[in-house]
């Protein structure tokens, strides 16, 4: 898989979530994702960025156009040095929340994207990589 130039967005306040939504949508658009799929990608990014704000205070989002054989796509890598997720399997189930009424939204993000990888442990932060192909 070939990676093109990445866009880095530091997540640290509400406005940075908005930038990550706008940037991911814009980049997805230039890669040829149709509008509906652009919005799906942006919603997934919004969900991931909000998780950083809510659970880790700060982190970063890296958006990278990717290419593999005849197809191109978008890779979004999200990482933080927050508390980490104790039980990933549990966090990937629907209707699970560790802070009140809202869940992490991770199962939804996984459904909206084509590929989903997560690496997290208590005290080590969280890294999530998602990809979607045009």
């Amino acid at each position: 898989m070939e990676r093109m130039k990445s866009t880095w967005i530091r997540i640290g306040e509400e406005a940075s979530v908005a930038s990550s939504i706008v940037e991911s949508g814009r980049i997805a658009g230039t890669l040829g994702f149709e509008k509906k799929r652009q919005l799906m990608i942006s919603t997934a990014v919004s969900e991931l960025a909000r998780n950083i704000l809510k659970y880790a205070d700060r982190g970063e989002i890296i958006i990278t156009p990717i290419q593999e054989e005849q197809r191109c796509g978008i890779e979004i890598s999200v990482r933080d040095r927050g508390p980490g997720i104790a039980d990933i399997e549990q966090a990937m189930k629907d209707h699970v929340s560790s802070s009140g009424t809202l869940g992490l939204g991770l199962p939804g993000v996984k459904r909206m994207m084509d590929e989903f990888e997560i690496d997290s442990a208590l005290g080590r932060g969280t890294r999530i990589v998602v990809r979607k192909w045009v």
Binding site: E13, K35, K36, L39, M40, E47, K54, H95
Partner: protein, 131 residues
């Protein structure tokens, strides 16, 4: 980043309903202001319904949806039922994929349908009139 001038969502009253037309992406500050304005409008007008017209919203994550739900819960405590109108198909797909709780949400495709639904629920029936 501090935003000194929070954009406000215009509210109008019609058919005994407060109608809020949300045509922008909402931020946390805007939701807070919106809640405050909406509840005051409900009190001033005595309206028994709220119509949230959301056709201009393209991206809604679980947190946004949570804010909306809390606004609706507050409206309910003021005696007003909320109907959501005009959700974009993309927003609907995303909310369902995100496993948002939508079972108790009343939604219609446009304002006309919202008024029909509200009128049907707030107008007393003939039997009620005759008591």
């Amino acid at each position: 980043m501090e935003n000194p001038s929070i954009q406000r969502i215009p509210l109008q009253v019609s058919h005994n309903c407060v109608i809020a037309s949300i045509q922008v992406e909402l931020s946390e500050e805007m939701f807070a202001q919106f809640d405050k304005d909406l509840l005051e409008k409900l009190q001033d007008s005595g309206a028994t319904g709220i119509i949230l017209e959301l056709s201009g919203v393209e991206i809604m994550d679980l947190e946004d949806f949570g804010f909306l739900r809390r606004t609706m819960a507050k409206g309910k405590m003021m005696g007003a039922r909320t109907i959501i109108a005009g959700l974009q198909p993309e927003v609907v797909s995303a909310l369902i994929e995100l496993d948002a709780e939508v079972d108790d949400i009343d939604a219609v495709q446009n304002l006309d349908d919202a008024f029909m639904l509200i009128d049907a629920s707030v107008r007393p029936t003939e039997a009620e009139w005759n008591g």
